[in-house]
Every structure is written in structure tokens, then in C-alpha cells.
């Protein structure tokens, strides 16, 4: 991972994560290879208490696997457990 070039992605925060970070959106420069790696990086920064394995990931408007790759310019959403309906 150290050999990867950095990427700039747009992160959108929702629900309890939005309240915890105090922001709806931010640009993040990261060397994370996957949404899951990026989440761990940001979870450490923001000191989230929510279990990482409860989070789903969306990239560019679509829910993706935690192991999907991240590209420069991607729009990334971290989805905490849902409660619609």
C-alpha cells in the first residue's frame, strides 16, 4: 500500500456519522486502496465507536463491496446500519 499514489475522494457522511463528524461532506486525500481501509483511517481520526463491520460502502452512488478499489475523484459514502421503512 505504501507504493500506491494518493487519491483525493469526496466523502459523504450520513446520520450518526454526520453528527459525529459535524459535517455532511469533505474532501479527503488518502492512500487507502479500498473503502474499508479509508473508513478505518477516518474512524481513527474521528474516534468513531461504531463497529467497522457494521458499515456498508457506496462509491459513486452505488453500494459496493468493502474490497472494491478506490480511484482518484471517487465519491464515497459510509452507510451505518439503516432504519428505513
Amino acid at each position: 500500500m505504501q507504493d500506491q499514489p494518493g487519491a483525493i475522494v469526496t466523502v459523504t457522511w450520513h446520520a450518526m456519522l454526520r453528527e459525529k463528524t459535524g459535517r455532511a461532506q469533505e474532501e479527503v486525500s488518502t492512500r487507502a486502496a479500498t473503502p474499508a481501509e479509508l473508513f478505518l483511517e477516518l474512524a481513527a481520526r474521528y474516534e468513531f465507536s461504531i463497529p467497522a463491520d457494521s458499515i456498508r460502502f457506496a462509491v459513486n452512488g452505488e453500494i459496493v463491496s468493502s474490497k472494491d478499489g478506490l480511484q482518484n475523484g471517487d465519491r464515497v459514502s459510509f452507510l451505518p446500519p439503516v432504519s428505513g421503512g
Binding site: 446520520a15 439503516v82 432504519s83 428505513g84 421503512g85
Partner: protein, 138 residues
Amino acid sequence: MGAFRLTTEPIEPFRLESELENTVTGALVTFAGRVRNRNEGRDVLHLFYEGANEIASTEFEHIETEARSRFEIEDIRCAHRIGKLELGEIAVWIGVSARHRGAAFDGCRYLIDELKQRLPIWKKEHYADGDSGWINHS
């Protein structure tokens, strides 16, 4: 326009239902989920729903495709409210038309079950005691 919409406006079942009545299909099953005054023993004053619109629409399309492959469905409409909701207001509405009632029932049930598990929509309850909290279905 797809079968799904997130809306800050009150949901009007009769308008959505009329969109399903253009074809003569025999059976129509609808589900409406409304804000209850109590949840897990606590008095609810009102709710706040937040949704990720683009992701929810895409994911609903996947759910709709699955439902159509499983059941002989004619047409589908679904709306989920976001923003502040008062007690008794409709949070989610689903209508499914089909030639036969079995497919209409099964399709409607499938859609609401999957929607609740998968769509990026979050509910925050505000309680009579001044407390509030995000709800977790799982």
C-alpha cells in the same frame, strides 16, 4: 422516472395508486408504514428520516429487478418520506400490481422487507422525555 422516490412532501397513497391503475391487472396490494406513537416502550413525539437519495434509488432498482424475477409483477410504485414526520404520517408506501394476487402480495412483501434491510435511510426518534436517538433495524 423510476418506481422509487424519496420525498420531503407528505406521501399521497391515492396519487401513487392511481399510477398503478392505468393497466387492467386484476390485483393490487399496497403497504403503508406509519409513524407509531411508541417504540420499544418509549413515547415517540416525532421522527426525523435521512436518506441518501442517489444510492437509495440505485439500490431500489436492484431490489425491483430481484422482485420482478421472482414474482410475476406488473408494476411497482414506492415512496419513502424524509425530513421531520409527525405521529401517524406515512413513512413508506409501496404498491404492487399483478395479474394474480399471489404475486402482488409476495412482491409487496419482498420489497418492504428488502427495503428495510438495504436502503440507505436512517430514522432518528425524538422522545417525550427529551431524549433522541438513531434507530438500528439490525
